[in-house]
């Protein structure tokens, strides 16, 4: 353990030390960025720190990031192919990623460099000692966003909201309160994912208490006949079969709009914010490339791209993100989880999941 701490300090001091060459490279990069005019990706100049990390990463040539789905991380390789051609990014996007990562690690085979997952799912990896401490503060992370002594950093949030097709439902018709979803006019008109509904409701339970939430969820499913499904709700929404998907997210709406839809979302009085986190794996096969990708993902440019491409916004540590401002302006209450509340949230999820799954 002390060795890890010691090496972390060394890495931190390395990453904080900016060489003259890196400063020159950074300056050159910024000149280049301003002179090349319009680019496919809205770029910001590399900071000297990033430029140095990039130089170090180049000999390794590749880096792999693992996460829950292609939706969340599948956009990164394309961005790198445009901006940082010397580093090829690959990704594994799978719900079985944790099992595979643990299995590979046990077999002493290491292919994952970075781990991007929800805080809850990251626990399985962190508790097995498969992540390394990293100097996230030097990359701009705030103390409240650094977990497990620096092994994990808060990246952004999956913000749960109802979504709807604007061609079928007017914005003003969509309820603003969760209780209003029990109105009979929404009977047979709502759909929810079997996973996302109890996850969202678990955050409501943190605010409302378990009993009230259970009662609300039963009424939603039994009285208002909300369809609970494992299929993509988008198909049911766009075909007009259902008008409101109640446990989707701002991100889902953004991704659908990116794909040419006209989808709206409604922030409700309580805003459940599932925490997504980033970590560098303990036995990363490309340590310098991993540091570079991690550092770049912490930049405001990457966070903006995360928000645009994957629909995940940082509302926990960035009060100035557009979504944070939207929540503040409407005086809504965001609910977060952290290492202290996640066990309770997980327990609520299990109990509410039983209702959703019948």
């Amino acid at each position: 353990m002390s060795k890890i701490r010691a090496s972390s300090k060394v890495e931190a001091s390395r990453s904080m030390t900016i060489s003259r060459r890196a400063a020159l490279l950074g300056g050159a990069a910024s000149v280049l960025a301003t002179t090349t005019g319009r680019q496919a990706v809205a770029q910001t100049a590399l900071s000297p720190q990033l430029a140095e990390l990039y130089e170090r990463a180049k000999p390794e040539g590749e880096v792999s990031i693992w996460g829950p789905s292609a939706t969340t991380i599948g956009w990164i390789p394309d961005i790198f192919a445009e901006r940082f051609r010397d580093i090829k990014v690959s990704f594994v996007g799978s719900e079985q990623a944790a099992a595979r990562f643990i299995t590979e690690s046990r077999a002493n085979r290491h292919t994952a460099d970075l781990w991007f997952y929800s805080l809850g799912a990251t626990l399985d990896i962190q508790s097995r000692g498969l992540l390394q401490k990293h100097d996230w503060a030097s990359l701009g992370a705030k103390p409240e966003g650094i977990f497990f002594g620096g092994e994990v950093v808060a990246m952004n949030n999956h913000v749960s909201t109802p979504i709807f097709s604007r061609s079928l439902v007017k914005d003003d018709d969509v309820p603003r309160q969760y209780e209003a979803l029990l109105d009979p006019r929404w009977k047979d008109n709502m759909v929810a994912s079997s996973f996302l509904l109890p996850r969202m409701a678990a955050y409501l339970a943190i605010e409302w208490g378990l009993q009230r939430t259970q009662k609300w969820m039963r009424a939603l499913i039994d009285d208002n006949r909300t369809m609970i499904t494992t299929a993509p709700v988008s198909d049911l929404l766009f075909s007009g079969e259902r008008r409101l998907a109640i446990s989707e997210s701002v991100g889902a709406a953004r991704r659908m709009n990116n794909a040419g839809r006209n989808v709206g979302y409604r922030l409700m009085e309580i805003v459940p914010c599932t925490q997504f986190t980033l970590a560098v794996t303990k036995n990363t096969p490309h340590p310098n490339a991993a540091r570079f990708l991690a550092a770049w993902l912490m930049t405001s440019e990457a966070k903006t791209l995360f928000s645009e491409r994957a629909g995940l916004s940082d509302v926990r540590t960035d009060p100035n993100s557009p979504l944070s401002r939207e929540i503040q302006a409407a005086r809504l209450k965001p609910v977060f989880e952290d290492v202290n509340t996640m066990d309770q949230r997980a327990d609520y999820y299990r109990q509410l999941s039983a209702i959703a799954k019948g």
Binding site: A107, T111, T230, P232
Partner: protein, 561 residues
Amino acid sequence: MAGKLILAGAAVVAIYLISVPLIFLLGTAFRGPADFLPFEPGSRWTLDNLWDVYLDPALYRSILPNTAIFAAGSVTITFVIAFTLAWLVERTDLPFRSAIFTAILFPLLVPTVVLAIAWTLLCAPNAGWVNVAIRGLFGVQGPGPINIFTMPGLIICQGIASTPFVFLLLCAALRTMNPSLEEASNTSGASPIVTFFKITLPVLRPGILAPLILATLLTLEQFDLPLIIGFPARVNVFTTRLFFDLNAEDQLPKYGSAAAVALLFLVIAILLLALYNYMVRRAERYVTMTGKGYRPTRLKLGRWRAPALVFVGAYLTFAAVLPALVLLWTSLTGGVTWSEATLSWTAYEKLTSDPRFWKAVVNTFIVAACSAGIATLVGALISWQILRTRFIGRNLLDFISFLSIGIPSVIAGFAVMLLYLSLPIGVYGTIWILVLAYSYRIAVTTRLSRAALMQIHAELEEASSISGAGWLDTIRRIVLPLMTPALLSSFLLLFMVGFREFTIPMMLQSDDNWVLSVVMWRLQNDRQTGEAAAVGTLIVLFVIPIIFLMRRYLLAQQNND
């Protein structure tokens, strides 16, 4: 000597391919607790998984009764449709038989998830195209009249989805049946119905029982349609539990609990195998191919031709044409409502301009063809050993090969991952690990080959041997040509299953071994519905010519014989 080596090699390969996932499945069912993977330090031997699954009151109150109704209803529908279609295609003068044969297989080509979504778009109560049309026609208001999200809806959809599988198996049996027995019955004055029940069905017993058993087990293991159509109707079946155990979202998959669920499939497989062996214990009863030559004749449908075509047309409309239209429509419009739709080739252009897509196409063909080839070859050799030799372990071999059908894909995928992470032979992360992982499904080939071999009298091989031919020559020149329909059916079936296999490649994916189903899943997951549908459409376009050509080749070969 060469023959013995080949047979021994086949047995070793079969045991190797099946025992890895099988041992893993058996071991995992007794490992816990749930927050540890089964092989990890900290996990221990336990019966907790079995208690959790089998002492749950909901299992006996609703899940098992639902499962029984679902399986019985679906298999019945499947069999009625598949047998009628197979009989019409193989034993009658129905027109356009090759085209119909190919079209019937459509639901096998398309991932079941896509079929389920297509049927949902057609028959959902509020906005299903069929319901909208009916309401418009009769001026009815409100949802319905058809509601796919019910138990009958689930049964009908599953019955139709499983039809091509059973159809393909029954075609092989019907094609190799010598019609002289039926002709003798007819000549003796028996009516067609009497001939059918007294001659055709008894003679075809192995060829019918094998698909019946396979269809029952496969229906019990289905979770795509029960999840997409049954689950919203609150109809939970046994596999619903399996799905949620393996897709535990924020937690590690509960492999132990899933394996405990899968144990039931193994038990049912063992019981069905025992029943099968009991019912076909006197193999010589089913011999229809002897040394005497025969030429299959086709029944003239006469005035029944039109009703037969209507039946085939009705099946094809619901199982192939409408889903194909939905797939095509979605790929061209992104799946929006009629009023919002704009037709565009954008999805296809984006897809085909991506080199990763073409790499996935090549990978998919290699993996599906190689795994189907391996399983077919090994399965056929094993069947020959079981039926034609006195080898002591043949029953055990039969038993092990059959158990492969009770192993869920995700368990097989995980077991293969564990094995090849430990074996330093360089297949991990390549397409070859997918070939090895897919090839465990030998049960289909052994059942099919065995049923076909039972119809071939051993006297043909004896005659060849007496005439001086070696074992390899006899197999190559006598047995293989006679078994070609069954082997081709088996290959086609496994090729198509491999082409659309999703669970195993998701588990073992790397940048180098993407296959089309993974591409499709990623696009769907990314809400790029149009492009996901375009992949589905292209899968159909890639595979249909192959089926058509294979069918033509088979018919040409039969005509030459």
